[in-house]
Each structure stands twice: as structure tokens, then as C-alpha cells.
Symmetry: C2
Subunit: 609 residues, 2 copies
């Protein structure tokens, strides 16, 4: 199964769905030329298609294995990982120097470190999202390793002492050492406040960690010389619940003053989960047996430190949904273009099934759905970038709010779209889709984790309705809706003035915006229990309208600029408006009634009828 | 994982969503007392939960295996199959005697066979659907074996010679011999007209079959002494395409005049597919090497003979979606009732996640979605039963058209619901849902085949839009819509007269019916290419409205009859109206535009942007 990363789609959306030119105009990104961007996209695409895509199927079949406390990755993964670090991909959005720009929205502290070379490329998040979408599409199981390293690195940059930074960051930026995020325990998944792992002071400034963590992605493996674990644990006498959790750094191998790994630390993978998908990504049960560790950030503020890092990981999960959806689309398109079955109306005998109206509809559902979710991901990344790079403070603040608002939507809408699209991919294959050999089934299995991890999509929806909309009285959402209103007005304008047929898009965007405004008003006015029940339908509604509006904006912009891809995009977005945007008003019924119908049926009767 | 078959739900729908009393009043079902029905449901439930459910997980883990041309089923399956036949379940809807009633809509021919005891129970299809839903929920992979035997039996009853009937039927009714349906070939899936397996006359009235068939469910196994294969093949000089295909019977072991199996026939399983799900159901590549066979039905009429049998199998696939959806619901409900995570608003600490609004919403989505699809399945089975049992010819004709209309909807809507609901089941489990040990992932994998086999859901939609709606100018659909209008009127009546709050249901049913009438008019008026592109959205729209209307009908009927389950059902249907029925109008946009947006985007550009 070949994979051709969608460079044209990504470039088109960078130009026309978001305002990439404005980012290039920011002083911190003065070196971000079109040529550089293209070079990076082409290079990422080549790495994805030539190195990662070929080992994806074998990774699924063989998986990672655990023997005697040692995790061995699937054939080819170690070599691919080395190629990844050799090419310098890990440093894509990492800061160029300690004290320099960092994509996670954090400045590196510590004056005495100022200017130390770190080797990161310091590229904006939109580029990182673009490249990572390709990597995830090629090989989602592989792509999780760099993602974890990036998250761990961001946490260290934002919260660790200068000493820890100096010791660990340089080899993480290169990818020589990977990172691990040790949060979940059996009783503490969505509710991290319930965790029990203990941290006992050793008296020398270090701590001893004891406890068990589960679902630790790439928690152990054979691809790097060291693994830098970030671990949530409780100090002695820490308050109960989420205010008593601290963040620690614990390497797999203890590191001497010169940064050389030596003695093995008390951290062992004692189990590997048997999962539905992403078999090549080792999901470990980790045992911390007095593991030596160092505090990161203030005592008892571990959850806060963690959550400042979560936004980027959440966005990347939405990117995974799109990446694997794109791969599933390409697999289905290739199959539909070769498979001959039944007479295609209006075609010569022997025409492939891609000519059947229903098959073509499914291909368009896939392609337009992916494009819509991709637009949201890029808009979210763009808001993050502008929240750091925009010249004036007011704009940065607004962009920070925009990014916070879009993150749960990007994560949930993108990952749900991944599941929907990979399911359609299976369907296009017919009986062959149910046979593992085609790979369509693997995409379907792999995609299913994305709505679950880094905060389930239910949690994302609660975050959207609660912290992002209700808490500020809908201010950030009103600003977003204002921008979407402008898109609608611009579209009406160009449609009327140029005779372009955007009437169908306009009608559905108009109706979608009415629904979104109405729903937002309801969500702000309702009580907390109602908002919990209404949250997911609200997020779905917003996802359809925002993706629809961004795509329509990209058509208007592309047509104005006479972009050669604009006419094709216009047709794709026509389908998107009918299939996705048109659904938005249908969620209002559930949002309006909220908790009442959900709780009306007595729980103890649910098993009876 | 325990499984409690949903007897109460099924009984409620039999009483209130369909008119089971009218069926009981038919002369051919005079012995169908409420007590008998309850006995059968209780017995089926016990068999499902005690015998089939416990071996479901092991069946998935171990799968069926092929060694030296011999298929061995997963541990416990052989014993379970024996228990199934010992209890007589295979004969549930089989005719009591040759010449007697048969559920497939066919009368047994051959006067000289009249009255020969066959041992079937001759029960109506609604009972068969009810019992089989439980079996599929307990163990979908197992349930396929009896389904295949039933289909093969129906084909033999309808089309085989008296000699073949006498020789094969008695041991198929008991389940001692199973049946196999050998249709698909690599180049002939949805398009059976492309098949190539050859049948050469042996000169003694028998034929020699040569060729290869793929995707043959339970094509070989170790549970019975013989397997009676029905095989589609071409006679020498047969016309090309679908008018040159004949149907043959070929047993695994040749049978002597007394019905004893002897010599092995030239039929061998040469491969087992590695599938996404239903691992315990052996999906075989079958080699026919000069296998001795006998013609069933007229020469070159094989596809017609086959299709008369297909309706029942299609309905059963919709039933599979509901069965496995119910199982996934119960698994999720049990997990949500035990798992403690996060503070539940308004509850004591330690309350399980089933109290969270978003989790409860997901449980209600599952339960109400399953109930709606179940109502369609039972309505379809009821139409089939009444098409045979109704006293007057006009009613039988109308019911035959109703059954033909509802079959593709039952198959597609039920199987799609199975996929959606099992996905929600995974989601409720959070991270544990992605781990195979919980079983939630197995339901998700198993359910995915149902939208594909027995005619993909795309094919079902083409069947609905084409043969079932356009061909008769919408007559059968108009009759159905007329019945739904009556439901709406009755609901308004009871709501107004009794002060019951059905206003929300009424509003959405009203809007849904407007959409369904409008969509039906469009589908009838459009050209064929448009109808192909609009078919799936049209089927989805119809599914939401019909299921919604049937559930509302059941509430009205139940409230009138003071059924103790009616108040709970009313609450469930409230949620159904908001979640499913309210979606119906959203499909109009796609149906209206039909093929234009689907084909606007040039196919050769699909890979470019």
C-alpha cells in the first residue's frame, strides 16, 4: 500500500483556510519562506511514504513484544526511528536555543541558560501539524513515539529546573532519547486526582517513586539509549485529590553530570496491553520500584504543569484522526479505481466501481470530511502560533483564547472523523475490507483509540462547553462566530459579484450559523448538569459549522487568488456543505432538551426493558 | 461477561410496535398462544446466555483453524452446536411437514410428499427474529451456522426436486447437517453475474462442479456429519452474465438412497480468511474439484432462485446488528455502573460513571438506537408472516410489498446501528475499551461485517430506491407512509386527550414525515444515476422516521393498554426522537442534489488535491 502525503491539500489550506502569510510576516518567523515550507513538506512526505508507510502493516501484524522486562519493537521500527532522528525531524518545532522560541506557548526560563544551542528548528505549530499528519497517516503507531517525546520536552522546558533542562533536553531535541508520559493508573484515568503513586524524598534533593502506571504509550522500547519519563505522583502528606499531585522526571537510565546514561533506574515495563489497534506502539504497564526522580515544577502543582502541556497533545490526536483518515481514503480510492464489479451507469463495460454513484459518494464523504477536520486542526495550530508570534499583545491574547477554544474541537472532531472515515474505507472495499490483508481494517482499528486517549471526546466536549464557553460567558466563542459571520458575508459578496455558484454553501452556512448561535446561547444559559448532557451534540454542531465555514473561506480565497486548485476545492466543499454542514441544525433538539431526556429513564430500569 | 437477552423489550415491541395479536388470530397460527411465545423466548434466552455467551470471547481469541483441508472450530463450539440441535432450535421456523407452512414465503411442492413429517415447528418469522437476535447477541460467529442452514433449507424447499428434498431436508431441519451458500468468487461479489464456476453434466442427471468460491461462511467445520452446499455455477454454453447461472446442491459427503453419508465429495476448504471479526465463524475458500452436484430449480435461473431466499438472510443481518448492539449495550451498562471516575454532579463521592450526563447520554443513544432498529426488524418479519398468514389475498399482497420494502431498510439500518452502537460501547469503556480483554472491542470488530455481507448497505439502498420505490411508482412506500401518518394522528389524539407529554415526539415525527414524503417524491422523479447517489441518504432518512414512528406507536399503544413498561418506554422514545428521528430532515440536502455534487469533482483529480 503506497501512501502519497497530501501536500497539495495542506498547502492549499495553509494559504486559503488560514492566513499563513500573516504568520510569515511575524518577526519571529521572518525566515519562514514559501520555499522552506515546501522543502519541509516534501521532505516529510518522502520520509512518511518511503520509510514509515512500508513498515505499517508489518507493525500491526507483529506488534511490539515484551520478554523479561524488555520491550522489542516490531521489525524495521528501530531502523526507522534512527532514520527519523538522523534526519532531525524531532526538532521540527523545538526551540533553536534555550531561551528561544518554543511552540508550546512557553518561554524557557533561567537566565544562565540564555542562548545555549539546543538544535531545534523553532518552526511554527502549523508546520508541525502538517508534517505530523503525514507521519501519522503513514504509521500512526510509530508517530506516537515522537509525539510523546515532544510532550515530555515541552513539560521540561516549561517547568523543570535549569539543571534538568541542561541534562535532558539536548538529547531529546535530537530524538536520541525519547520521552514518556506516566499519568494513568487503574483507578485514575480521566480522573487523575485519584492517583496513588508515591514520591518519597531521598534527602539529597531527589525522590523515590513507587507505584504502577498503566496505558503508558512507548513506555519502554529498544529504539533509544534512554527514556525520560515524566511521572505524576504524590508527595508524603500531600492533600488528597488533584491538588496533591506533583510532577517528576525519572530517566530509564540515570544520567551522570556529563549527560551520559549509566545505572538502570527502578522503572520496568511489566506488561504490554493486547489492543484493538496500533499494535506496534507498545502500551506498557510500568512499575516504579523506588525509581530515582526529580521534581518538575512546584510541589502539588503537577496537574497544572501537565495540563499546560496537554493542549498540544490533544491537537495532535485530532491530527492523527485526519492522518489515518487520509490514508484510508487513499487505500479506498486505489481499490475503487481498480475493482470492477457491476455495470457502471453510462460507462463502458469493465469500468471500475469508482464510477458507481454510491461508491463515489462514499469517496467524497471521506475526502471532504477529512478536509474539513484538517482545516480545524490547522486553524487551531495557527491560533497557537499567532498567540506567540503576533506583534501586539491584544492579538496574542485573542489568539490564545481562540486556540483554547479550538483545541477540544480539533481533538474530538478530528478523531471522530478518523473513525467515521476509516469505517467508510472498509465499506468501499466490500468483503475485502473485512479481511486484514487489505489494510483497510487496520486503519479502522488504529483510528479507534483517538477518540479515547488524551482525554476522551466526552471530556473534550465538557472542556468546550464548560471552561471554554461558559466560563468567559461565551466571549471567545462570540469572537469566533464573528469571524464565521465575516466568512459568510464575504462568500455572499463574491457569489453575487462573480456569478459563482456558492448558493448551496451559503444557505447551509447561514443555517449552521443560526444553529450555532442558538446552541451557544442555550449552553451558556443552562445549568451545569444540562451542559454536561448537551456537550457532545454541541461540539459536533460546532465542528460541522467551523469546518464548513473554513472550507468555504478557502474556496472564496482560492477563487479570488486564481489558485489552480480552487475549482476542485469548490466542488469538494459543495459536497461538504451538503453532507456535514447541513447536519448542524439537527443537533439542536438534543442540546435544547439537554439533561432531561438523558436522565428521565431510571438507571435501575435500563437493564430491565 | 454475562448476557441477559432482552425478553421484555422484544415482548413489548411484539405487543405494541407490531400487531402480534392479529398474527395470532390467523388460522395458520391458531396454536401460537402467549404462553408458547413466552416459553420459546425464555428457552432461547437461556440457551443464548448459558451456552453461547460463555464461549464468545474464547471463540474470538482462538478462532477456527484449518489444517490439512480440515476446519476445526474454536473450543466449545462443537458441543454448543450439538446442544443447539438437541434442543431443536434449528427447526424453529422450518415447516412442520413437507407440504406445510414455511416461513420463507414458499409452499413446498410435490404432491407425493404431502404430509411427510419434517419436524419443524412452523413458527412465524417474528419469533425466529426474536430468538435469533438473542443468539447473535450471545455469539454472532456461532449464530451464522444456523442462519446458513436455514437459507440453504429454504432454497431447497422452494426449488429442489422432491427427491433432493426427501434426501436432505429432514437432517437439515434437525440441524444434524448444516448448509452452505457458495456464491462469491474473487471477481464476483456484488455482481454475481460475473461468476465462472463450471457445472458439467455427468450424463446420469448429476453434474460435476469445478471452480473456487471465496468468503464461504461456515463452508467447512467439524460440528456436523455432513454439509449441504448450495452452489452457483454455469452450465456449458450458458448465456453470459446473470442469465447464465444455475443453482446446484452438492453435499460434502455423498448420500446413499437411505440418506446415509458415505464417500467424500470433491469439495475442500483450501483457505481460511484472516478477518477483522467473527473469528470463530470459519470463512472459507472452497475448492470444487469435479464435485458431484444436482440442479436445483430450472437451468440458468440460479440467481432468481437465490434471490427469493435472500430476503430472509438480509433481515437476519439486520437482526445481527441489533443483537450485537444489545450485547455491547449491556457490557457498557455494566461497566458504567461499576467504574468510579470523577465526581458525579449531585451524587455522593464514589458514584459510578453512569451518573455522568455524557455517559448516560451514550447509554441512551445505544439503548434507544437498538430499540428503533429492533422495531423495524420485527415489522419486517411481521409483514413476511402476514404475507403468508393473512386470511384475504389483498392483505397478503400488501404485506408482501411491505416486507419487500422493509427488508433493505432492516438490513442496512440494523447493521449500521450495530456498528454505531458498538463504537459507543467502546467509548463508554474509555481506555479499557481499546483493550481486547473487556470484550467491547470484539463487539466493535464483529459488528463491522454486517453492513457488508448479504449485499452491502449501498446495494440495499439501491434496492430500496430502485426496485422497491421507483419500480412501483412509490405505491408500497405511499402505503407505509400512510400507516405512519395514522401513527402521527393517533399520537396527537392521545397526547391531546390524556395530557401525556408526547409533544416533542409529535414535532419530530411530523418533520420527519414531511422530509420522508418530500424525499420519496424526489427519488421517484429523479433519473437513475441521481437515484444511485441519493440512495443511502434516502435509506438513512427512512430508517430514522420508520423506527421513530414505530417506537412512538408502541408508546401510544402501551400507554393505552396500561402496559407496566410503557412509562419507561415513553422516556426511551423521547430520547430516540431527539437523537435519531430529529436527524431525518438533515438528509434532504444530499438527496435533493443527488449525483451532481458527487460527480462534480473529477475522479482523476481525487488523488491530487
Amino acid at each position: 500500500m503506497t501512501f502519497s502525503p497530501p501536500i497539495n491539500s495542506i498547502q492549499y489550506l495553509l494559504r486559503h483556510a488560514i492566513d499563513f502569510r500573516a504568520l510569515q510576516a511575524c518577526p519571529t518567523h521572518s525566515d519562514l519562506s514559501d520555499e522552506l515550507v515546501l522543502d519541509i513538506l516534501v521532505g516529510g512526505a518522502a520520509f512518511a511514504s518511503d520509510v514509515l508507510a512500508p513498515i505499517n502493516r508489518g507493525g500491526d501484524e507483529n506488534g511490539a513484544t515484551l520478554k523479561g522486562g524488555v520491550v522489542t519493537t516490531a521489525p524495521g521500527f528501530k531502523e526507522a526511528y534512527k532514520a527519523y532522528t538522523d534526519a532531525g525531524w524531532q526538532g521540527l518545532s523545538a526551540p533553536q536555543s534555550i531561551g528561544g522560541h518554543v511552540s508550546g506557548g512557553q518561554e524557557l526560563g533561567g537566565q544562565e541558560l540564555g542562548g545555549q544551542e539546543l538544535g531545534g528548528m523553532g518552526l511554527p505549530m502549523v508546520i508541525s501539524v502538517a508534517v505530523n499528519e503525514m507521519l501519522y497517516g503513514a504509521n500512526m503507531a510509530f508517530g506516537l513515539a515522537p509525539m510523546l517525546t515532544g510532550s515530555a520536552m515541552n513539560a521540561i522546558i516549561a517547568h523543570a529546573s535549569d539543571e534538568l533542562k541542561k541534562l535532558y533536553l539536548p538529547k531529546m531535541v535530537t530524538g536520541e532519547w525519547s520521552g514518556g508520559m506516566n499519568l494513568t493508573e487503574p483507578q485514575a484515568g480521566s480522573d487523575l486526582g485519584a492517583l496513588r503513586t508515591k514520591a518519597t524524598p531521598n534527602g539529597d534533593g531527589s525522590y523515590a517513586l513507587s507505584g504502577q502506571k498503566i496505558f503508558i504509550t512507548w513506555g519502554d522500547h529498544d529504539c533509544t539509549d534512554n527514556i525520560v519519563h515524566l511521572v505524576l505522583a504524590r508527595l508524603p502528606d500531600a492533600p488528597a485529590g488533584s491538588r496533591g499531585i506533583s510532577l517528576f522526571l525519572a530517566p530509564k537510565f540515570l544520567v551522570d553530570a556529563d549527560g551520559n546514561p549509566g545505572e538502570r533506574n527502578g522503572i520496568t515495563a511489566i506488561g504490554l496491553e493486547h489492543k484493538l489497534g496500533i499494535h506496534a506502539s507498545p502500551t506498557c504497564v510500568m512499575e516504579f520500584a523506588g525509581a530515582k526522580a526529580w521534581l518538575v515544577g512546584p510541589e502539588n502543582r503537577g496537574l497544572v504543569c501537565m495540563f499546560t502541556m496537554m493542549n498540544e497533545a490533544r491537537l495532535f490526536v485530532g491530527v492523527q484522526g485526519v492522518g489515518i483518515g487520509e490514508r484510508a481514503f487513499q487505500t479506498a480510492l486505489a481499490y475503487a479505481g481498480e475493482r470492477v464489479q457491476g455495470r457502471v451507469a453510462g460507462a463502458e463495460p469493465g469500468a471500475p466501481i469508482s464510477g458507481h454513484g454510491d461508491v463515489r459518494r462514499m469517496l467524497m464523504d471521506m475526502k471532504s470530511g477529512i478536509m474539513g477536520a484538517r482545516a480545524i486542526n490547522l486553524a487551531c495550530a495557527y491560533a497557537l502560533d499567532m498567540s506567540e508570534a503576533a506583534p501586539d499583545e491584544e492579538a496574542r491574547t485573542a489568539d490564545r483564547a481562540r486556540q483554547a477554544l479550538l483545541t477540544p474541537i480539533a481533538k474530538a472532531y478530528g478523531s471522530d472523523m478518523g473513525v467515521a472515515v476509516t469505517s467508510t474505507g472498509v465499506q468501499i472495499h466490500g468483503g475485502m475490507g473485512f479481511i486484514e490483508e487489505t489494510g483497510a481494517a487496520q486503519h479502522y482499528r488504529d483510528a479507534r483509540i483517538a477518540p479515547i486517549y488524551e482525554g476522551t471526546n466526552g471530556i473534550q466536549a465538557l472542556d468546550l462547553a464548560g471552561r471554554k464557553v461558559r466560563r468567559d460567558g461565551g466571549a471567545a466563542m462570540a469572537a469566533l462566530i464573528g469571524d464565521l459571520d465575516v466568512i459568510l458575508a464575504d462568500t455572499k459578496d463574491i457569489s453575487g459579484n462573480n456569478g459563482l455558484d456558492l448558493g448551496c454553501n451559503i444557505r447551509h452556512l447561514e443555517a449552521g450559523l443560526v444553529a450555532m448561535k442558538s446552541a451557544t446561547g442555550m449552553v451558556i444559559a443552562m445549568d451545569e448538569i444540562d451542559s454536561h448532557a448537551a456537550a457532545v451534540p454541541y461540539l459536533d454542531l460546532c465542528g460541522h459549522v467551523i469546518s464548513g465555514a473554513l472550507l468555504i473561506k478557502s474556496v472564496v480565497s482560492g477563487l479570488k487568488a486564481k489558485d489552480p486548485h480552487a475549482p476542485a476545492m469548490q466542488k469538494l466543499v459543495w459536497h461538504h456543505s451538503l453532507k456535514y454542514l447541513a447536519q448542524a441544525p439537527a443537533y439542536l433538539a438534543q442540546i435544547k432538551c439537554a439533561a432531561a431526556p438523558v436522565f428521565a429513564y431510571p438507571e435501575d430500569r435500563l437493564a430491565d426493558l
